[in-house]
Amino acid sequence: MKADTPELPHEIMELQMGPSHPATHGTIKFNLKLEGEKVLDCDVELGFLHRGFDKSCEQATWTQVIPYTDRLNYASSLINNVGYALAVEKLIGAETPPRCQYIRVIISELARLFDHLTCCGMAASELGAITVGFYMIEARELITRIIENLTGARLTVTYVRIGGLKHDLPEDFAERVTAAFTTIRKLLDDCDRLLSRNRIFLDRMANVGVISKESALDHSLTGPILRATGVDYDVRKAFPYLVYAKLDFEVPVGSHGDNYDRFLCRLGEIQQSMKIVEQALRQLPVGPVWIDDARFVLPEKEKVYGSIEGLMHHFKIIMEGIQVPAGETYSAVEGGNGELGFYIVSDGGGKPYRLRVRPPCFIAMGAFAEMIKGYMVADIVPTFGMMNMIGGECDR
């Protein structure tokens, strides 16, 4: 029988998946080399959302850059704002008052909740668990309403300023957050019961898209993808910023480096984020939310219209922009996808000379080919979903 079987011709099939594909989030193209269903090689082609962030920031004043930073990882725009403000404040040599730092921690964690809920919800719904997707979107909507009540916008908020925030928290912020968290915990409990022992979900996520610890470090991965392999590197713990050193929280670390561990890491971080926000709200001190430096912070309207100094400071800041002293600095925060770093070079003027964002998911896409080699085309969907590539951050 075997001798009769003719030698069938076979060739490696080259297939392009993307840039617009219903199951991959974001505009990204995979040039796949397939042998049947098995992926032999994957060349990632990105840059479809490249908008020239670096060059645009060189043309804008230091404050005008903040809306640009919103649009980096647009699922967690507050973290981008906070990261940028911290980097510029490091150049200035200013430290914001404690109340501002606690509020920045709270909004960073709310943004992280938003990001992780989007990622896990979408990843689950792409696998067919649409109900879980909807539950997480409902949880995310509660966070969105809190952010909208606080900042005025749902997604790209521009809430943080150099030297402080745009305005202080509203009166009922703590009650809203507590009420929302009760509902979110219930929803996440439902999602957990739907997914964690679900045979189909485990078959599609566990032991798929595996990357080893050494490989992950070699590829400069950070964030939940790195922590799922077992490396305990979180910028909030390793290089504490703001008031994270005063807060008690854990960092979930996986062991297998597969999609399921990444999913569990993100869910664990959601729980920890809620814990951090609740602690921060309890410890929130009273006080100002701006640094006491008239060169960088706009004065109150009463002073602008009532005193000559206020008028002058307001005029200088609006017309010339804040002048950041010359120098260079690198400052990193823990974004939803990993280490979000800002490398800023200032020539002493009102505009950045060079503004570089270290994009965690751009670097993660470099490791994607290795994660998907040997797996099937259908495994691309959960693997890519759990990497949480946000086009705005990857391509800038």
Binding site: G52, K55, G366, R396
Partner: protein
């Protein structure tokens, strides 16, 4: 050089003549290295048990056009995970000979980062396995993050790429070729 902290002094001891300067702006630790033998310098930084900067965080470049010679500077951010230390390495690159050793043999994560620097600045990385544009399309002319690239620069129109076995709209391609011919004749 002013009194460098003991940690920076350690780096000076290990790398010797390759270290051009040690600075500590705003509390960061910054080392300026010589471009020659860069891969060996980084290998020392990575593998020396006392330095152990085993994690490459970022590679980028800055264009100091007319502000300082040499024109470019490639900036590396390293992290030592065990010691929880950060280090910044700056390597000056002249405009005429904009080539730097690639760090892909040491860290595979350098692949995409160096491709981005090539794409946006035009700085080559020798021995890079696959140095091509990453964020911009292949037919893009110029390196946009250089300071002499105007912000509102227009790019030439390019004909649709021809890929074997796919449909190419011949009418639109012929129209573009005719347009280019007429424009060339006018000039």
């Amino acid at each position: 050089m002013a009194e460098a902290s003991p940690q920076l002094q350690q780096i000076q001891d290990r790398l010797g003549a390759k270290v051009l300067s040690l600075t500590e702006p705003r509390g960061d630790q910054v080392v300026a290295l010589d471009r020659a033998g860069l891969r060996e310098s980084f290998r020392l930084l990575k593998e020396d048990p006392e330095l152990s900067f085993n994690f490459l965080s970022d590679i980028t470049a800055v264009d100091y056009w007319h502000k300082q010679e040499p024109r470019f500077e490639v900036v590396y951010q390293l992290v030592s995970l065990q010691q929880r230390r950060r280090l910044r390495v700056r390597v000056a690159v002249p405009e005429g000979d904009a080539v730097v050793d690639s760090l892909t043999p040491l860290w595979r994560g350098a692949n995409y980062l160096e491709r981005e620097v090539w794409d946006l600045y035009g700085i080559r990385f020798s021995d890079h396995p696959d140095l091509r544009r990453i964020l911009l399309y292949d037919e893009f002319v110029g390196h946009p993050l250089r300071k002499d690239y105007p912000v509102n620069q227009c790019q030439p129109r390019v004909p649709e790429r021809h890929v074997d076995g796919t449909f190419v709209d011949e009418r639109s391609r012929n129209k573009l070729l005719r347009l280019q011919k007429t424009l060339a004749k006018k000039n």
